[in-house]
């Protein structure tokens, strides 16, 4: 989770309160923890500021909200600064931000052969290591799906596509392309071979998406569909952080409507427990893929397509959450 520096300067009332009862300082800890911020370091300071806390908080908003908690607000001036890990910042600076791709050659026959040949290395290896059990429900639903099609799934972890791929039949899998964030997967000049743009295009069948890019981001995937390729998209746009399913973006529906191809929702279960966002360690666990009813775009508007996909995903998601956390699982989930 990101770190923040919280600076405090006590008012005279605050100083008096601390002097009379030094344990009131514990109030700061309670207030922060209630907003899911954890204190990593705390110091009493000499100089302009009286106290500094280095805290770990889920996001800018929660960090900000935590500092407004009443215990602090009335007895001290506070300022919260997002802090960026210095080694990480150095790495960022030495990296180029120029991106590469998309590579249209990725749909050529030789690229497809290379992808299939690399499959055990790029996919099976991870699936074997991290999935203690892999179930596919509703595989028969693929029978009615003709390529090209658009596969959509919920996004919980970097391992999602390993779980998903095993649930997709070979005729579609062998010609399936993923949208991947350009600023993460298509940076020029990465040292690791597996992180280089050409490797992403060739072995993973990925193509770059520029975040916040608007309708331009759909040009290349539309081109892929036109050339008979299948697409895979995560309509939540990014990995989910809470228990709730995020709102779906319309990109997949726009592409489906324009090209007249079906959207196949696949719900992935159990991935969040293996490697949630913000963690580096992964622990093996059971996963399942639920293939849901394909949505055919004929006669539907873009929001209707998105909704038809979303509703199916949502009910499957809620059932999965209830299995995992009990019937009240979704009661306090953040919805956005």
């Amino acid at each position: 989770m990101p770190h923040y520096v919280l600076l405090m300067r006590d008012h005279s009332t605050g100083l008096k309160a601390i002097r009379e009862d030094p344990t009131v300082l514990e109030g700061v800890r309670d207030a922060l923890e209630r907003w899911e911020a954890k204190i990593l370091h705390s110091y009493r300071l000499m100089g302009i500021w009286d106290q500094v806390y280095v805290v770990d908080a889920p996001d800018n908003f929660k960090a900000y909200r935590a500092t407004l908690a009443q215990e602090m607000g009335t007895t001290a001036d506070t300022e919260i600064l997002p802090a960026i890990d210095l080694p990480l910042f150095q790495r960022l600076l030495s990296q180029t931000t120029a991106t590469e791709g998309p590579h249209q050659w990725q749909i050529q026959w030789w690229a497809r052969i290379a992808r299939v040949a690399m499959y055990p290395y790029a996919y099976d290896r991870w699936a074997r290591r991290y999935f203690t059990e892999h179930k596919v429900h509703g595989a028969e639903k693929w029978a009615s799906v003709q390529a090209p099609c658009i596969v959509v799934a919920n996004h919980a972890s970097h391992f999602d596509q390993y779980c998903l791929m095993k649930a997709v039949p070979w005729r579609i899998r062998s010609n399936l392309f993923f949208g991947a964030a350009a600023d993460r997967w298509f940076l020029k000049g990465r040292k690791e071979v597996t992180l280089r743009p050409w490797y992403q295009s060739l072995v993973n069948g990925a193509y770059p998406i520029h975040r916040g890019g608007g309708s331009k981001t759909l040009e290349y995937p539309a081109w892929l569909l036109e050339h008979g390729a299948n697409l895979m998209l995560f309509p939540e746009g990014t990995r989910a952080r809470g228990r709730a399913l995020s709102k779906f973006k319309h990109g997949a529906a726009i592409l489906a409507e324009k090209a007249g191809v079906p959207v196949v929702p696949v719900y992935l279960e159990g991935l969040q427990a293996i490697r949630p966002p913000g963690t580096k360690e992964a622990k093996p666990g059971p996963v399942a893929a639920h293939v849901l009813d394909p949505v055919h775009p004929q006669g539907l508007s873009v929001p209707q397509i998105t909704n038809a996909v979303y509703q199916q995903m949502k009910s499957t998601h809620e059932a999965a959450m209830a299995r995992r956390y009990g019937a009240d699982a979704m009661k306090n989930a953040d919805s956005n």
């Binding site: 209630r34 907003w35 800018n60 908003f61 407004l68 960026i84 960022l92 600076l93 975040r211």
Partner: protein, 103 residues
């Protein structure tokens, strides 16, 4: 994408460049986009600062990098603040803490 407000002040050198080549300003927006963020609104202001830029960036890290890149050119001094929409702010203030405290 999160929103950030970037206030910038021209240095003497920046003022000179801007006078000679005002169109240079647009090139900066393009560079910001290449670094993975987007300028959504931009104003030249009178007062303590010269420009107000509203920028959308995916993470604090990317925004920090942009501030650094722009600041390193010696043409502007920048100060960047994370911002939230007022509607989001109101929602946040009305929300209950995710964890109940003892107090």
């Amino acid at each position: 994408m999160a929103t950030y407000v970037m206030l910038s002040t021209l240095t003497d050198e920046g003022r000179k460049t801007l006078k000679e080549r005002p169109e240079r300003l647009n090139a900066v927006n393009k560079e910001i986009e290449e670094m993975g963020a987007r300028v959504t609104a931009q104003y030249a202001v009178l007062g303590g600062y010269d420009f107000v830029n509203i920028i959308e960036a995916p993470t604090n890290e990317i925004m920090a990098r942009i501030s650094m890149e722009l600041g390193s050119r010696g043409t502007i001094k920048v100060t960047t603040f994370p911002a939230m929409a007022i509607s989001q702010f109101v929602e946040l203030m009305q929300a209950n803490p995710p964890r109940a405290g003892d107090a």
